[in-house]
């Protein structure tokens, strides 16, 4: 069921088409890439091990509005379906389930050099997973999320036309679940995520 939902979302993103007329200052952006995530849980039962998401695809949809020259604001939906792996410190890596992480952020972007911009954002992240393993008692709700990104618009005619950009994206949130609390984990753990993305846009005034 989760796979169907993910597939439907991916299909929606892939087949999405921007409106024929966007307001002059508003643009739609789709981004895809790959994401690394740090350890969700560090535990020790006989020997230490980490529970960590596998390298996973990242899909982002943003609506961006130019506030004034050099500044823009945006709202972004960020989706990452990922496998979970248990990494033993003594060697070995084992399947430990899967999840899809949904993040929604609002951000402020500053264009500080030709083609280059940086973004700061805040929002929330939710894990969607079947009720097994660390998610057996639920996903833990929505975690506050902070994010920074650096974007570079490729200085090529085709890239300008398609508003093609490459982006390095970082975010951090605190992770825990009810099952982990039941197990005795009293605090949450910071989870750092890094994504490398290629972004394409429609509408707006283009990248300065």
């Amino acid at each position: 069921m989760k796979g169907v939902r993910t597939a439907a979302l991916v299909a929606l993103v892939v087949t999405a088409r921007p409106p024929d007329r966007l307001t002059a200052q508003v643009s739609l952006h789709l981004a895809a890439g790959v994401r690394y995530s740090s350890t969700l849980v560090h535990d020790s039962i006989v020997t230490p091990f980490d529970l960590r998401p596998a390298l996973a695809p990242a899909l982002l949809v943003s609506v961006r509005d130019e506030l004034r020259p050099g500044w823009s604001a945006d709202a972004t939906l960020d989706v990452t379906p990922s496998g979970l792996r248990r990494h033993e410190t003594t060697g070995g890596s084992f399947d430990a389930g899967s999840f899809t992480a949904f993040a929604f952020t609002v951000g402020l972007r500053r264009h500080f050099a030709p083609g280059a911009s940086a973004r700061l954002g805040v929002g929330g992240l939710r894990y969607a997973a079947s009720q097994t393993g660390v998610f057996r008692e639920g996903s833990g709700g929505i975690f506050p999320l902070g994010t920074v990104a650096a974007t570079y618009a490729l200085p090529l005619p085709f890239a300008r036309k398609r508003q093609l950009e490459v982006e390095a994206h970082y975010d951090v949130h605190q992770f825990t679940t009810p099952a982990l609390r039941t197990e005795g984990f009293r605090e949450s753990r910071p989870v750092h995520r890094v994504a490398l993305l290629v972004r394409i846009g429609w509408g707006g005034g283009g990248t300065p």
């Binding site: 535990d43 402020l108 500053r110 902070g146 005795g184």
Partner: protein, 220 residues
């Protein structure tokens, strides 16, 4: 204003990056390994299903509600683990199963359970067949479940409640909890009276699946 917001966000990110939660204490694990003492030598029999054999394949006697009992017990044990250490599936072919669960003789009626205590309403036995080396299993694990008739009379509903407890208990043996707990709050107590594994059952199963087996699984 923008700079102060950025500084606040950066500070928040830095703060978030600093903490690392303490690993919980997992005291209260009971002895799950079997031992045999011959002369001065002590042999430890520690068994769990290896990662390469996941999911463990359970076959349930097709009579009565045995399949339901086995599926339920498999789910209960899977749910004890946080990190995917154990996965089980009920299969239709007994020839390909790792664990065979049968009625010993009579099949109890499938009625809603009554949890009013009824001592000795049912029982179960789990048997491991060791190969000639004594260091590996020769074949599938056998579990037998029985309606007991020697004690005070129990209603069919009380027998069903007993079967649910005993199915979890016996499948606990089949996944490697070879010994009984000494405490009646645990499902692995010799005569289980609780309906689900306790936190000590869970911790014991977790420690078992992170320990090194001394007994190999049966040939696939």
């Amino acid at each position: 204003m923008t700079r102060s917001c950025a500084a606040a966000l950066a500070g928040g990110l830095a703060l978030a990056a600093c903490t690392d939660p303490a690993i919980p204490d997992r005291g209260g694990v009971y002895s799950f390994a079997d031992t045999s003492i011959v002369g001065v030598d002590t042999t430890v029999y520690l068994f769990h299903w290896p990662v390469a054999r996941m999911p463990v394949r359970f076959w349930a006697d097709p009579r009565g509600n045995m399949r339901f009992l086995v599926e339920r017990a498999v789910g209960v044990w899977q749910d004890q683990f946080l990190y995917g250490e154990l996965r089980g599936v009920v299969v239709n072919d007994s020839g390909s199963a790792d664990v065979l669960v049968r009625w010993t003789d009579s099949v109890p009626p499938d009625v809603p359970p009554d949890t009013t205590p009824a001592p000795n309403a049912c029982g179960g036995v789990t048997t491991f067949d060791y190969d000639s080396t004594g260091l590996g299993l020769a074949g599938p694990v056998h579990v037998s479940m029985t309606v007991l008739t020697g004690g005070p009379p129990a209603s069919p509903a009380q027998v069903q409640a007993c079967m649910r407890r005993v199915a979890i208990h016996e499948l606990g043996h089949s996944i490697g909890l070879l010994r009984h707990s000494l405490f009646d709050e645990d499902i692995m107590y010799g005569s289980p009276s609780v309906d689900y594994p306790s936190r000590f059952d869970r911790r014991s199963a977790e420690v078992l699946y992170h320990s090194t087996s001394t007994i190999g699984p049966p040939p696939p």
